[in-house]
Symmetry: C2
Subunit: 338 residues, 2 copies
C-alpha cells in the first residue's frame, strides 16, 4: 500500500497519519510508503523521522504533477480551504477546493490509465453541504436522501467535489468514497478560519485557562464528532467493499447532537465551574448564519448499516481531548462527577 495524504499537516491529516503508522496496514495490506503533502511540513518528529514517511511541502495545485508521477493505492484528500476563508476570499476557495480537487482527480485518472487499477480516494465532505434555501427549507432530520442546498462557498465546493468524485468513480477512473464529516470537536491547537472553530475553542481554551467567546446562543444545537470517532469512521468507509459503500452518493458520518449549552454544561462537569466560566456568549451574525444553517440532527440508514456510531456523550468527547492533549485537570474538579 502506497498512500498519499493531502493536507497531511492539518489536524485530521496528522491524526490519520499517526493511526496509519500505528496500524501498519490499510485494507489488510501492509503500508509501504506514506506520502504526506501539505503547504506546511509535518511538525511531529515521530512522523517526520518514520522510515515509511515521505513529505512534499508546497501549494498542492502546483505540486500534483510531481506528486502523482508515482502511483498510489489510496489517497486521502484532506487539503481544503476552510469555510471562513472561502467566504472571505471567493477565488482562493475556488482554487483550493475546486481546481485542486479537479487536478488531483485527473492525475489519479492518468494513473488508472497507466496501470489499470483505480486508486481508492477518500474525500472528506462536510455537514456544511446542508443548509436552508427559501425554496427548500432544511428538513428537521437529515436522512440519506436529503437534498443539500449549501449556503456557503465551502459547502458548495464540497458538494461539487462529491459530484465529480461520483462521476470519476462511475467511469472506473477511481474508487471514490466521499463521506460528510460532522464538525470535529475538540480539535487541539489554535483557532482556525472555520466558522465552526469555536466549537472546539469553547472547550479547549478554558481547559488551558484562556478566556473564549461563544458566537452563538446556548440553545443552538450542533452535530459533532470527536477526533477519534471521526478517524474511525473515515477508516471504516475506506476499508469496506465497494458494494458495502452502496452507490456513489456521499455518506453522512455519525453525529452527536448537543446544544452549545450542553457542551458548556459538560465542560463544567468535567473541569469545574471556574473553567466553564471562562466562556462568554457574544453572538456574531456571520457565524450564527453559517453555523445555524447546518443541520443538527441525522438519521441515516447507510451509517447505521455500517455499524458506525456517534460518540456516547459530549463528556466522553471532552475526556478524549484531555487525554489526547494531556491537559492537567484543575485541582478540585472531579474526574467522574455523578
Amino acid at each position: 500500500m502506497n498512500i498519499l495524504i493531502t493536507g497531511a499537516a492539518g489536524f485530521l491529516g496528522t491524526l490519520l497519519t499517526q493511526e496509519l503508522l500505528k496500524r501498519g496496514q490499510l485494507c489488510g495490506q501492509s503500508i509501504k510508503s506514506l506520502m504526506l503533502a501539505d503547504l506546511y511540513a509535518p511538525s511531529r518528529q515521530e512522523i517526520t523521522s518514520h522510515p515509511l514517511v515521505k513529505t512534499d511541502v508546497g501549494d498542492l495545485l502546483t505540486r500534483i504533477d510531481t506528486l502523482c508521477s508515482r502511483d498510489y493505492d489510496a489517497v486521502f484528500h484532506f487539503a481544503s480551504a476552510v469555510s471562513g476563508e472561502c467566504e472571505a476570499d471567493f477565488d482562493l476557495g475556488l482554487r483550493s477546493n475546486l481546481d485542486t480537487t479537479r487536478k488531483l482527480l485527473d492525475a489519479l485518472r492518468a494513473q488508472q490509465a497507466r496501470n489499470v487499477r483505480a486508486p481508492l480516494l477518500f474525500f472528506p465532505s462536510s455537514v456544511a453541504v446542508f443548509g436552508s434555501d427559501p425554496a427548500i427549507p432544511l428538513s428537521d432530520v437529515v436522512r440519506d436522501d436529503t437534498l443539500p442546498t449549501p449556503q456557503s462557498s465551502y459547502g458548495i465546493h464540497k458538494f461539487i467535489c462529491e459530484q465529480l468524485i461520483a462521476d470519476y468513480t462511475r467511469k472506473g477512473y477511481i474508487d471514490g468514497r466521499a463521506a460528510r464529516l460532522m464538525t470535529v470537536s475538540v480539535r487541539p491547537g489554535r483557532p482556525n478560519g472555520a466558522a465552526s472553530s469555536f466549537l472546539s475553542g469553547i472547550v479547549r481554551e478554558p481547559l488551558s485557562g484562556i478566556a473564549s467567546v461563544c458566537p452563538v446562543e446556548l440553545s443552538t444545537p450542533v452535530a459533532l464528532s470527536s477526533p477519534n470517532n471521526t478517524i474511525a469512521g473515515i477508516l471504516r468507509v475506506v476499508e469496506i467493499s465497494r458494494e458495502d459503500f452502496a452507490g456513489r452518493t456521499a455518506l453522512n458520518l455519525p453525529a452527536l447532537t448537543v446544544t452549545v449549552g450542553e457542551m458548556l454544561q459538560a465542560l463544567k462537569e468535567v473541569a469545574g465551574p471556574e473553567v466553564a466560566a471562562l466562556v462568554t456568549v457574544q453572538p456574531d451574525a456571520t457565524i450564527k448564519r453559517i453555523v445555524g444553517g447546518w443541520p443538527p440532527r441525522f438519521d441515516c440508514q447507510r451509517t447505521h448499516q455500517l455499524g458506525l456510531k456517534a460518540d456516547a456523550s459530549y463528556r466522553a468527547v471532552i475526556e478524549q481531548y484531555i487525554e489526547m492533549a494531556e491537559i492537567k485537570r484543575p485541582e478540585g474538579a472531579p474526574r467522574h462527577p455523578s
Copy 2:
C-alpha cells in the same frame, strides 16, 4: 436590454432568439442588442439580417474574454456538450460544460464588479440530473426537494453548474436562475449526440417518410416538453422576480409524462398507420440505461405556483411540430381523429 445567448445556433437558442426578436422586449425593457454566440453561425436569414443581432462564432471557452468585454443585462447560457458526447469523450464534456460555464460566471462576476448591477443568467439544467444510485433509489415522483444523483457525466455537469450558479447568486455576482428542462420533443432538424435524440427522431423522421429506430421499449415512460412550452417556461423563469423564483435551487420545468408507446400511438392518430409503421423498436443497452435512469413523473410545487403547465397531450405536441416544420400531412390521415 443587452442580451447574450450562448449556443445560440442550437435549436432552443434559435427558437429563443426568434421569440425575443418577435417580442422586442424582456422583463418589460426593450431589447437593444442580441449577441448570438456559438461554434456555428446562425443559419436563418431573418436572424442574421436583423439590425439588433450581433454574432460571435467560435469556441466559447476561448471567446468569453472578448464576448464579455461588453456588458449584458441578461445571459442565456445554452452552450453545452450533450449527454452522448459527454459519455463518449470525458475531457470534452468537462471542458464544454464545466470549464466554459465557470469562465462565463467569472466574466459576469467581473462585469458586476465593473458596474455594480448583477446580470441575469438563465441556465438550462436538465432532467438528466436525476438518476438512480444504489444507495438512493429514484423516487417514484420527483418533487422540489428530490435529491439528484446523476448517472451520466452530462447530468453531473449540469448539477455542478447549478451549484456554482447558486453560489455566484448568493454572493450577489449574478442573478442566476437555473431550471431543469424536460426532454424537448419534437425537435426539428437531424439526430444529435444526445441519448434522448430518438424522442424526437421517432416522430420527426417518420413524418418525413424516413425510417427511425426506437432504442427503448414501448412501455418506457418519459418526461417531455414541446419546444414552445419549453421556451415559455424559460421566459417565465427569467421574468419573475428574484423572490418569486424562491431561493437558489434549480426549478423543475413542467413535464408531460407519456410512454414511448403512447407517443407512437399519437403519431398514428395524427399522421396515420403507415407513418407510425416507419418506427422499429430495437433496444440499445447504453441508451436504455441513460434514458431509463431519468425520472418520468414530477410533482413540483414551485412549478405549480408559477402557473407553469405541461403540454396538454402528446398529440398537441405533434401538431405543434407539424405546424412549425410545415410538414405536409400524408393524404388520408385525419387532422383530428376521434
